[in-house]
Symmetry: C2
Subunit: 460 residues, 2 copies
């Protein structure tokens, strides 16, 4: 893990990505895997490996990604690529410390939690089995990609063009944090994604708000009004019929959510918030589609705020989709709603002629579109995974029918037509995608057990 | 005018302000004025001058300001302090051009329209009277301040401490643009001002919107919802009872507005907008209180937009007040409204303990507070000014009961207890407070006539 973090495998460092892929291939080869690098033009390679276990009837692909998120080094408390172990705020000289280590120590470094921990746990689990002389119960394939942080633009292409080599009975996705209760977790789906940047327009130049402020349209107000029409502060999407296509939860899925421990009071305290949106518990709320406002920009604030009407307002939004919804369908519902409110929808900045004719112009830039997936929790493969995880953990693991965040699960489902199940590792408070990313030691140990359990007990 | 613009009298250039004040004092002395510089700690001096006309029974103070707005030179087409005359987009060598000049030429330079044109017109009007041997009909005082661009923080102090020297029967405020019809204009009031920066809070750190986006409060949404509750996109303020204190327009004021030429279609075309807020004409709309959103900031947009819930949302707002309203009263109405919507109003950033107890916290920073003024349009002084302006212009001038923008008229009314009337000069499209500030030549000539008319015809 220490070694892997030091290899700077981030998009800004192509050499680091190449070096990491080469190192991972070596690590697999040393364990008896047949390996190859699956390439696509302009993409870091996918590290592929396969290991056949004589007598095994099932084959399972273990997915992870070896790239990390970009870093803004000055926001980190230490070099993101020089791992540090900490006990609370205190650094620990763990390489010279005598075991047992404290399971509450945290290991800091870019990609420590997202997602080199999955690769580390896989390798450690494999080695542990070998050390006690256990033979894998399944044939094992690994698929470790290197551009997840860039939304995996070549993932479909690589998967499709290597469909035969990737042939398997199940994909296990080693990514994402476990439930906030910190217990070992399986997830059976993930929400889809749909990004939108919307711009509304006022006058081309900022005008004095005293002379013109009740008469010249104010785009900041138009944006605010629009957001309040799209979504309220309790998390409800207000577009009529927005949820019509949503596939309801099954009885098993509802029961799984009802079984989750209540974390809400703890989380409100941990986060320092006096309320949460809506009146559902956290996981239940993420079973619905969501609209998040990620950013707003209009005019100036602070010392630069002028007595002027802003020229435009930009809204960065993100939809999270659930099964039954498609990006195309959501897009159509949003655009129909905007038109019903008097908006003219465009894709380029309007010229003066267009502004004169259309009183309310909104420019939409859609992006990052992919659907959700919820796998069948009652399939034989699913039952097999749950049983193996429970046995490895020594207790029933936490079952999430779907993760709130978006992962490209649909893609493996769509191309490979086999069950796709998530095997998360990281602590929920891992600061992934931000500075000071970290992995709680106990989470790594739990993961080694779960990975070893999958490799030695899985059978259906 | 050329010389005055070259003296860089902006807040960033204290030497330019000092040099301008000294130069103006010299110009007044040369015309027989008794002069002094009225100082306050930390303020550029007010240039004061007085000229007694034997036999005159009334004394009039002419207000203007010799400082200009700050400049962002790279946004200008030429050096803001090296004046350029232009015929459309074409430069004109006006110093070597033979009269008559084209009245549609524009003179570009910082403070050319705001407000050195008033000083220039005053001096030119005074000289013109002298040239034809006319004696002023009034005793004249000038009061030219140098920190209007910084909201005149020392204006009340200087006015109060020189109350005796400033004693007069009328103040004429030489500032602001004329009506959009470009006709010579008088205004009898100005709206007051009340700035507000409001901040609402989410979580202290940005959280993944996929995992937490239907549950952790989104401050961008809270801000949008609040703005939509405060004001709609037709310019209506929605706070219950907000207009209760508003003093209605008198019959004379209503009649003056009804007489204004309809400019709205021309303006919509000039501005390139397909609609205006509400269904009133422009000037009528500025007789009401206004709430303008000057800026919005939350999270990130564009390439920097992350899949995250923003930590806060900042709203820069500006109220324009009308007579009957006080800044204290408006502030109380806003805070009462916020409390009725469940907000806890604070003045400092909340700590974690406060965030845990109060589900919706809003931090308010109020600033720039002063009331409106509408002078009596039927007072003897007002009738005298209208008559003199009409005679000078050779036709009825445009009468505005109140300007939409805010000027410190209330202060002279409050301290000096005499009528205060506005004598604007600039073209409405002068780009004041922005790059490429300019003065239409015809507006300057009109102003010289009106100033000379005031000095030679005013009597009541």
């Amino acid at each position: 893990m220490d070694e892997l973090v030091r290899l700077q495998s981030v998009a800004a460092s192509p050499d680091g990505l190449t070096a990491t892929a080469a190192r991972l291939e070596t690590l697999l080869k040393a364990r008896g895997f047949k390996t190859s690098l699956m390439a696509a033009q302009g993409a870091p390679p996918v590290v592929f490996g396969s290991y056949n276990s004589p007598g095994a009837k099932r084959t399972v692909v273990f997915y992870a990604h070896y790239d990390g998120q970009p870093v803004t080094s000055e926001q980190w408390n230490s070099d993101p690529f020089v791992p540090v172990m900490r006990d609370g705020a205190k650094d620990v000289d763990w390489k010279n410390a005598k075991p047992p280590f404290d399971p509450e120590w945290h290991f800091f470094g870019r990609a420590a939690a997202d997602d080199k921990n999955s690769i580390t746990a896989f390798l450690a689990g494999f080695d542990a089995l070998k050390a006690i002389g256990h033979k894998p119960s399944i044939n094992i394939k690994v698929f470790w990609e290197g551009e997840e942080g860039r939304s995996s633009p070549h993932l479909a292409e690589i998967t499709r063009s290597h469909k035969d080599e990737l042939c398997a009975d199940l994909w296990l996705i080693g990514d994402a944090p476990v439930h906030q209760s910190r217990a070992p977790t399986l997830y059976f789906g993930a929400r889809g994604n749909l990004g939108l940047e919307a711009t509304v327009y006022g006058l081309r130049r900022a005008l004095h708000d005293g002379h013109y402020g009740n008469w010249v349209p104010n785009p900041a107000v138009m944006a605010a009004e629009l957001i309040a029409q799209l979504r309220d502060s309790e998390g409800r999407i207000l577009i009529p019929g927005f949820g019509d296509d949503v596939r309801p939860l099954t009885a098993e899925e509802k029961a799984a959510i009802a079984r989750l421990p209540s974390m809400e009071n703890d989380l409100r305290h941990e986060f320092g918030i006096g309320r949460s949106e809506g009146n559902e518990e956290l996981t239940a709320s993420t079973m619905r589609p969501a609209l998040n406002i990620k950013g707003l920009r209009s005019g100036q604030v602070g010392a630069e705020a002028a007595g002027a009407i802003p020229v435009d307002a930009i809204m960065a939004m993100g939809f999270r989709l659930v099964p039954g919804q498609t990006p195309q369908g959501v897009r159509a519902k949003v655009e129909t709603f905007l038109k019903s409110k008097g908006w003219t929808v465009v894709t380029d900045a309007p010229d003066t002629a267009a502004r004169l004719v259309h009183p309310r112009i909104i420019r939409l830039a859609w992006r990052d579109a992919y659907p959700a997936l919820r796998s069948d929790m009652t399939s034989p493969a699913a039952r097999g995974v749950i049983a193996a995880a429970n046995a490895a953990a020594g207790k029933p693991v936490t079952i999430l029918p779907m993760m709130g965040a978006s992962v490209h699960l649909y893609l493996f489902d769509d191309i490979m037509k086999v069950p796709v199940i998530g095997l998360p590792i990281s602590n929920h408070d891992n600061s992934q995608h931000a500075a000071n990313e970290n992995l709680r030691l106990r989470n790594l140990w739990d993961a080694v057990e779960v990975y070893a359990g999958m490799m030695s007990r899985l059978n259906w």
